[in-house]
């Protein structure tokens, strides 16, 4: 860490450091930020921007950038503060890290921070006629300001950007998303293959897609804002409703983050149960993604096969947690209740059945000549692009990036388990599909080992640590990543150390993997056909509420 500090200090003299927290914190003034970002990427190889968190500190607004070096796994974070609260402006780094494009739009939407040099500064989640920026602490939430509008949005085609002219003055430029003569069709928000309420505006040339404009926010529920008015344990509930196909994993992540902040030791057995639930969730999610991918390509029967086996996993959740979805099982310090006595037997049974049925899936779909023709070589995403766009999870690994958080930054008990990180190098839809299928086998492998371990620990036993009734975090901020079903899920929490009984988060940010995945839709779908758009988005496999939060 000291080493990094020295190197960054050489790159930017104005930077100040704080090595107290878990990661090195660098604070730079906005004027030097862009130059430092370029240097960080080119000289210190911080090639992946993993999170961009906008924060309102009262007097000032600012952004915290988390970035990692994919080769060494080092993580640092940089804090940049906008000088003027009324007209906050920061320099855009979307030309340095491609993923910053949508991330900065999100920060603009939430905080009104204008990113100078960003090519397309539209709102991302909210309607373009929305009044105010909701995550600012001075936001006026009265319903009169923003009633339910039942008319269509106007001026959808227009975008704007702020650029510095030669005198250093920031000027606004208005542009158009599509040219007037383009044939634009609207895919979504209500469309069977967008897997929810995502909307693409697709410019077509015959059947060929020329440009995809992603319009998001149709399921934006303002989770981050709502978390600021709840106590820490209450916020756990929302994690399950973002990526509902990674409900356990997301909840686990927030629990880990809060436990890290509290310095709480979780019983080994509880951690083991959490881990097993995570892997079951991953299995269930990959089965769903198999089903959806096949159904989107028209192989309806395969969808039913995938769903048939998911029911086994749902049964396990049902018996132990009391619900099929949104289980609310992990909690700060452990899990809320002990597992069902048959838990281990059920898991073993499910593993056996799914492993056996995997062969059937491959026979039915993977080997099919039409499926192969439609997936091989379609929707290419190179390793460099995957890193640049911060594509993690199965989609990133299909492009050859070693991005499994379970391996790169082991959390929970993953370092005790013997499993492989499935990595492929093709980067096409087929590779993404196959990575998922192979990961299911790895999950089964982990689950079997975990069953043995749980039997050693005892089928019934300690499942939760002693946790104080009132959860109060010291002032500070923490970031925790886990490997969710669709990629690295990160949680940023900031506490102001409020000593009052019901402490609320000062800021909570969820860095969802799907948010980054949506960034490559345009890149991968360009110059492919409409049918490929469906295949590619299905193979990238995102869950819309996870994007919109």
């Amino acid at each position: 860490m000291a080493d990094l500090k020295e190197q960054i200090g050489k790159l930017c003299a104005a930077a100040t450091f704080d090595a107290e927290g878990e990661f090195l914190l660098v604070e730079v003034p906005d004027a030097q930020w862009h130059a430092l970002a370029v240097a960080l990427k080119s000289e210190l190889h911080f090639d992946q921007l993993i999170a961009l968190v906008g924060v309102d500190w009262g007097e000032t607004l600012g952004v915290i950038y988390y970035m990692t070096n994919t080769a060494t796994g080092d993580i640092i974070h940089v804090k940049v503060v906008a000088a003027d609260r009324q007209q906050p402006r920061l320099h855009s780094v979307s030309d340095v890290w491609a993923v910053a494009n949508y991330q900065e739009r999100e920060a603009y939407d939430f905080f009104g921070i204008v990113f100078v040099g960003h090519p397309d500064m539209r709102r991302f989640f909210l309607r373009n006629d929305w009044v105010g920026h909701p995550l600012r602490k001075d936001y006026d939430a009265s319903p009169e300001k923003n009633p339910i509008r039942l008319d269509d949005e106007v001026r959808e085609d227009y975008t704007c950007s702020w650029v510095e002219d030669e005198n250093g003055q920031v000027v606004k430029r208005v542009g158009k998303v599509f040219a007037d003569d383009e044939y634009v069709i609207n895919v979504g928000p209500q469309h069977p293959s967008t897997h929810g309420v995502m909307r693409y505006r697709v410019s077509l040339d015959g059947e060929i897609v020329r440009k995809v404009d992603v319009v998001s926010g149709y399921i934006h529920r303002g989770i981050e804002k709502m978390c600021e008015s709840l106590t820490w344990p209450q916020t756990l509930l929302y994690t399950e409703r973002m990526d509902y196909m990674a409900a356990h994993i997301n909840r686990h992540c927030l629990c880990l983050c809060i436990e890290k902040a509290l310095g709480l030791e979780v019983p080994r057995r509880a951690e083991l149960i959490r881990l097993m639930m995570d892997e079951l969730m991953r299995l269930s999610s990959h089965l769903l993604s198999y089903g959806c991918l096949t159904m989107d390509q028209g192989a309806t029967t395969a969808f039913f096969y995938g769903f048939r086996d998911r029911e086994l996993i749902y049964d396990i959740f049902d018996r132990t947690c009391g619900a099929r979805m949104s289980m609310s099982y992990s909690t700060i310090g452990g899990v809320v209740a002990d597992v069902h006595p048959d838990f281990v037997a059920d898991v073993r049974h499910a593993c056996d059945v799914i492993e056996k049925n995997m062969k059937e899936y491959h026979q039915l779909f993977t080997g099919n000549v039409i499926a192969r023709n439609r997936m091989i070589g379609v929707g290419m995403l190179s390793k460099e692009q995957a890193i640049d766009y911060c594509i993690t999870g199965p989609s990133g690994r299909a492009s050859g990036v070693h991005c499994d958080v379970r391996k790169t930054h082991p959390y929970s008990l993953y370092d005790e388990f013997d499993f492989d990180e499935v990595v492929r190098t093709e980067g096409d839809s087929m590779a993404r599909y196959m990575v998922r299928m192979d990961e299911m086998l790895q999950s089964i492998k982990i689950l079997r080992q975990a069953c043995d371990k749980l039997e050693q620990e005892g089928l019934q036993g300690e499942f939760c640590a002693k946790v104080p009734k009132m959860i109060k975090l010291p002032a500070g901020h923490w970031y925790q990543q886990v490997e969710a079903s669709r990629g690295a899920f990160g949680v940023y929490i900031e506490s102001d150390g409020d000593p009052k009984p019901f402490q609320k988060p000062y800021r909570m940010h969820f860095q969802s993997p799907c948010f980054n995945l949506i960034g490559v839709v345009d890149l991968t779908c360009r110059d492919n056909m409409i049918a490929d758009l469906i295949t590619i988005t299905a193979s990238i496999d995102f869950v819309i509420p996870d994007i919109d939060r």
Binding site: S193, T300, N373, R374, D532
Partner: protein, 361 residues
Amino acid sequence: MFDLSSVTSWLDEWLNGVMPSWLATTTECVLVAVFLLLAYSVLAMIYIMYERWVCGWIQCRRGPLRVGPAGSLQIFADVFKILTKEIITLWSTDKFLFFLAPFLVVTASVLTFACLPWGKGFQIIDFNIGVFFIIAVSSIGVLGILLAGWSSNSKYTLIGAMRSGAQMISYELSVGISILTVVCLAGTMSITGLVEAQSDCWFLFKGHLPAVIAFIIYIIAANAENNRGPFDLPEAEHELTAGYHTEYSGIHYGLFYLAEYLNLFVVSGIASLLFLGGWMPLHIPGLDGFNAVMDFIPGTLWFLGKAFFMTFIFMWIRWSFPRVRIDQMLALEWRYLMPIGLVNLVVMAIVVTQNWYFGAN
């Protein structure tokens, strides 16, 4: 074998006896039309249920079973409901063409349906270019689909209609060529003639290799003709929501739905007519006892049985294959099916001229 033509000619004589000939002809036409439409709708309903049960079976489900005994009344509920559902009129569309389109599609399928031989003497029109007529009228359907897509004034329907146009016109060729191969073997275009020619042995076996190739080409092309998976691009539920009929509601949509299933019967019927001997029982040369037993089963049952069997194959394909992409679909036709079909036609011609087929004199 029982010949139904004796009944129909007796009816014709009797009618001509009791009324003037023009009235007799009109009455016969009306009777035929009523019978045809009844058979058409009943069969379409049976087919819809058949599909729902078969797909349930393939997908490890039960399928409809709550409405009536074992779900048998499900289709009636669907029909009554769809008949009384609101028909939405769209603003800024060509209303005449919009309303015309579903009827064109249904007309095309009724006309093809009318040519199918149900049994000996049990068909509506039988003339010397019967097969040719089937090919001709079945291609009216594409016009209806194109009109539906265009007149809805929506981008999705337009893409669906254009795909459909490209697809149906391309695959028409392969269907035509494979039918021609069989005609070449039979030496006649008359439907009765085609069936009669299979009395000793079905064409699929008689024509051995070229006939089998033609059969496979026919199955692929007919699937595409029918807009059924894996060639359901014009509808392509997951790409174009509902393709060319996205904007149709109520009975207009019902007509498309009906025509889709009836077309399925028609292509299965034609397959059984051309390759599996139509209403001819299964005859194996040399086994006279077996042949005699087979003769006891009525021809209509044979025909229906074969058609249902063919349909089962079509359904099996539909529910297990993913959808092809438009360029792959066209490449399959123009690069593979058509050239193979043409070569196969030449092979068949050689086989026929050299008397290399089974049962050749």
